[in-house]
């Protein structure tokens, strides 16, 4: 780049044009990647590399998807799973927020009990399922209990962290204006903690949903997890793929909804 003395030529491209061009390129890359995945998938499917229907062609998965969506059993099972997840989340969130506030507001409680919550939170919860079955039976209650337990940890930890992360200056400002405890709670703590609590709930819902589903695959006679095992035993691979796609989609949608709530209440 030894353009001695030369005035560099700049092509005048406005920012808007550049951005539009980049958005289009992003779209192309996504399309290429998606097409490549489909092509590889179909390639494997047609090659017969895997035995039988293990990797079925999209021509089989898509009709299976439609058939699944008009199957009343699917909707009944979906309802069960959603009820389980919602109940789990409700219980886990209430317990989590209460415990989180306790841990976050008192340095003593935090030091005494938070290590347990913290280190237990990433342990595999599904192994507690046998205990839940003994306590709550094989029905929906044991799944709710396990789901609640799963969502509890994330919510308690992020509430406690949120409580501690509140800018100390804000608390001093509130005190200096002689705010009552109620005013402190509603005008300072709550608004400042909204985001961490919602983050906890988002993680908690994810945990509750997946745990309920996994528990259903282990021991149940209803719910989407049960349905997955039913289809698996029938070796109906196209429907299995279709159902998993739907479940992944539902999980993503739950995530997105809470993310949207977090953004809209800003």
């Amino acid at each position: 780049m030894a353009s001695t003395g030369a005035i560099a030529m700049r092509v005048p491209v406005s920012r808007a044009v550049r951005e539009r061009r980049e958005t289009r390129n992003v779209f192309y890359v996504r399309a290429i990647v998606a097409l490549a995945i489909v092509a590889i998938w179909e390639g494997i499917s047609w090659s017969g590399l895997f035995f039988g229907d293990v990797v079925p062609s999209l021509a089989k998965i898509i009709p299976a998807l439609f058939k699944l969506l008009v199957n009343p059993a699917f909707w009944a099972n979906l309802q069960i799973t959603l009820v389980e997840a919602a109940a789990s989340l409700a219980i886990g969130a209430i317990a989590g927020i209460v415990v989180g506030i306790l841990l976050g507001s008192s340095r003593f409680f935090g030091a005494a009990f938070e290590p347990y919550v913290y280190y237990l939170s990433p342990t595999p919860r599904i192994i507690l399922f046998p205990i839940m079955i003994m306590w709550f039976g094989v029905g929906i209650a044991s799944k709710i209990a396990l789901g609640a337990l799963s969502s509890f940890f994330a919510i308690a930890l992020s509430t406690a962290a949120g409580m501690r992360q509140i800018d100390k200056v804000l608390i001093r400002v509130g005190r200096s204006f002689r705010a009552t405890p109620w005013q402190m709670a509603t005008k300072i703590y709550l608004p400042a903690m909204r985001l961490p609590v919602l983050t906890g709930i988002r993680l908690g819902l994810g945990n509750a949903l997946i745990t309920a589903l996994l528990a259903e695959t282990k021991l149940s006679n209803q719910g989407l997890g049960f349905m997955i095992m039913q289809i698996y035993t029938r070796f109906d691979m196209p429907t299995l793929y279709a159902l998993l796609i739907v479940v992944f989609f539902i999980a993503g949608a739950c995530n997105a909804v809470i993310g949207m709530i977090a953004r809209s209440t800003k």
């Binding site: 595999p124 994810g206 992944f248």
Partner: protein, 258 residues
């Protein structure tokens, strides 16, 4: 805090002791309630029996071999996550357009309930360690990729400028500035990833009754060995907590470099 002497609640040992004693107290209360038949012994075993069962599961159930099996699966999957994930993160950093196209997809994959697809993996890879490892790998990959990318992106602008002012080549820039600056973040990704691997390995072992520690709990529960089941669960939780603490140590040890 007006008093000059450190109040008891502000010391570091007192809360820890209270926390530990609380759990002991809960155990004792359960023991009493169970022995006085207030609680049903068929649902909750005596805490003392659970403690005794620890020895039994170590001696009779081959817990150490099982820990070995699970550990092997976690480490294999975890290493695969690092070997594949770090270069993928670098790739996404290097090609901005690819990053903008795929970052959201990878984040969605990270939140997806991949373990639930275990029946699929069973069909694809058979009933064996391979299936467990593949699921754990799929579950643990995204955090490494995303945290590698994040670490590289968050390299401070001024450090890159230092590199430029010294006329560093692209390769030098990567190995001497970008990569070392990203290491703490990469390791956070690895810690998350290996935590996910533990959850996936033990979960799948339990669900499909396959191999290591997860299967042990399944076995004990199916035999209706109550103290054994509780002890087994306690053991698994203990092992995973120790594993997390070690990972955290390593991470903190890498942090002061920040």
């Amino acid at each position: 805090m007006a008093s000059r002497k450190t109040p008891l609640v502000a010391t570091s040992w007192f809360p820890l002791t209270v926390g530990a004693l609380t759990f002991v107290a809960i155990g004792v209360i359960f023991e009493i309630l169970l022995r006085t038949d207030v609680l049903n012994r068929y649902i909750i075993p005596l805490p003392s029996e659970v403690l005794l069962a620890f020895e039994r599961i170590v001696v009779e159930e081959g817990v150490l071999t099982r820990t070995g099996v699970s550990a092997f699966e976690v480490l294999t999957a975890g290493l695969a996550c690092v070997i594949v994930g770090v270069p993928l993160g670098v790739l996404l950093y290097r090609f901005d357009i690819v990053r903008r196209a795929l970052e959201d997809w990878i984040a969605a994959l990270a939140a997806a309930p991949i373990v639930l697809a275990f029946p699929l993996f069973l069909v694809l890879f058979g009933r064996g360690s391979t299936t467990v490892i593949v699921i754990a790998f799929a579950y643990g990959l995204a955090p490494v990729v995303l945290k590698t990318l994040e670490g590289l992106i968050e390299t401070r602008r001024v450090l890159i400028n230092v590199g430029k002012s010294l006329n560093m080549s692209q390769t030098q820039m990567f190995w001497k500035i970008l990569f070392p600056s990203a290491i703490p973040s990469i390791f956070t990704g690895i810690r998350l990833s290996w935590t996910f691997c533990v959850i996936a390995v033990i979960g799948v072992e339990f669900l499909v009754n396959l191999g290591g520690l997860g299967q042990l709990i399944n076995d004990l529960a199916e035999r209706y060995d109550m103290p054994g089941t509780y002890a087994g669960i306690g053991f698994v939780i203990l092992v995973s907590v120790i594993f997390f603490i070690i990972l955290e140590w390593i991470e903190k040890w890498l942090q002061p470099a920040r």
